[in-house]
């Protein structure tokens, strides 16, 4: 049979089953055969990068079992990697350049700083914030607490342990911070150091539930979460956040999210080109 562009980028039934089993063995994630289109479209990228002509060639490479680089490309292509260190960096730049300096002034009498990472997933956001706080050197001797919550127990467990694979640690982490704030456990495993870990505490939490038991916060990061909810649930979640955020406190949402038309309590402001949301009362503190 003549090979056309069409059939070289299709998986045979046998290869599709092989790829699904390979991926399951490596990651524990089931990719059913009904995901054929998704698998094929993502593997096309691997063909292009690895200079392979057909899916058949790619599967042959995987079957050999020693081409770690191609295996990594396949796993990476089939995984939805949404978590990285310093993800969507603008809010972190604002945190480092402006917000923490202001917080250090505002909170100088109590010397406490409380931040909530409301969907902390596997902990990258919380430890990114912790590293930035540590790097400023403004909060030595303060009571700094960063609370991470998530609905997923397995994500919380990893966040609590602060242990990351080589691929997880690589994504977004500047090498100088890796050296400073992580210990190498073995060739493929890195663990966050106590100086950072000690700022963090974790709790299983559903964002649609009351959060007052978590305490009061100076900042809440709730990024890329609201997009998954309908209007009523968004209002419910922002209502719970409002109750635990100090009037001068800042809310940080994902780049494509807004409180506009959802909850008028929160007013958008821009700090170092990053959007944050604050109460009308707190606005004057943040706008020069």
């Amino acid at each position: 049979m003549l090979e056309t562009k069409e059939n070289t980028t299709k998986l045979s039934t046998e290869d599709l089953r092989f790829v699904s089993e390979f991926f399951y063995k490596k990651t524990g994630i089931q990719l059913g055969e009904e995901k054929r289109y998704l698998i094929e479209s993502r593997l096309k990228t691997v063909l292009r990068i690895a200079n392979l002509n057909t899916m058949d060639e790619l599967c042959q490479e995987l079957r050999k079992g020693f081409n770690v680089q191609v295996e990594t490309l396949v796993i990476d292509a089939l995984t939805t990697n949404e978590t990285s260190w310093f993800r969507d960096g603008k809010p972190f730049v604002a945190l480092e350049k402006t917000i923490l300096k202001k917080m250090a002034e505002l909170k100088a009498t109590t010397r406490t700083l409380n931040i909530w990472s409301a969907a902390s997933s596997t902990g990258q956001e919380i430890y990114t914030i912790a590293m930035i706080i540590q790097e400023t050197g403004l909060f030595n001797g303060w009571n700094v607490k960063i609370t991470g919550t998530d609905i997923s127990q397995s994500a919380l467990q990893q966040a609590k342990e602060g242990v990351y694979s080589q691929l997880e640690i690589s994504r977004g982490m500047p090498v100088k911070l890796l050296i400073k704030y992580f210990d190498q456990v073995d060739d493929n495993t890195w663990r966050v150091k106590p100086v950072i870990k000690n700022m963090a505490r974790f709790s299983a939490h559903n964002l649609k539930s009351d959060a007052t038991y978590l305490g009061k916060f100076d900042m809440v990061f709730c990024r890329n979460v609201l997009i998954y909810f309908d209007l009523q649930s968004k209002q419910q979640i922002l209502g719970h956040i409002r109750k635990v955020l100090h009037p001068s406190g800042l809310l940080c949402l994902g780049g494509s999210e807004t409180t506009y038309g959802v909850d008028d309590y929160f007013q958008p402001i821009f700090i170092d080109n990053a959007a944050f949301y604050v109460s009308e009362e707190g606005k004057s503190l943040w706008i020069k």
Binding site: R48, T72, R171, G172, P174, I179, Q184
Partner: protein
């Protein structure tokens, strides 16, 4: 942007080229440190060097030391791209003047992210 990939593996060089060219980045290649020295002394417009460690003729660390101590390419950023992934290797490379470090096996997003991070 122009990137020099220094690696004795044609497979790695090809993968890196495919990743970078798709982003509109110009790529030049060298198979070892000695070849890379020739490239950096003749081409002044290289923004970033992706540098393997273990190579025949001249290894990546020797190249790095040579470039940094002789100040051959002061504005060029050097990113290690190597299977040597011990903390001791990372420290040694950074102390010798590397700007970033990518551990193999690599993923396309990490390669691009580190290049953009160092190139500013």
């Amino acid at each position: 942007m122009k990137v020099l990939t220094v690696d004795d593996s044609l497979t790695v060089r090809t993968m890196v080229r495919n990743i970078l060219e798709e982003e509109g980045i110009k790529v030049v290649e060298a198979e070892n440190g000695q070849e890379a020295l020739d490239v950096v002394t003749s081409q002044q417009d290289i923004n970033v060097i992706l540098l393997d460690w273990e190579m025949p003729i001249m290894d990546g660390f020797t190249f790095l030391t040579e470039v940094r101590t002789k100040n051959l390419a002061p504005s060029t950023k050097i990113v290690m791209l190597t299977t040597l992934n011990k903390m001791s290797n990372i420290l040694k490379a950074i102390e010798a003047g590397a700007d970033e470090y990518i551990m193999k096996p690599f993923t396309p997003d990490v390669v691009l992210e580190k290049i953009h991070a160092v190139a500013g």
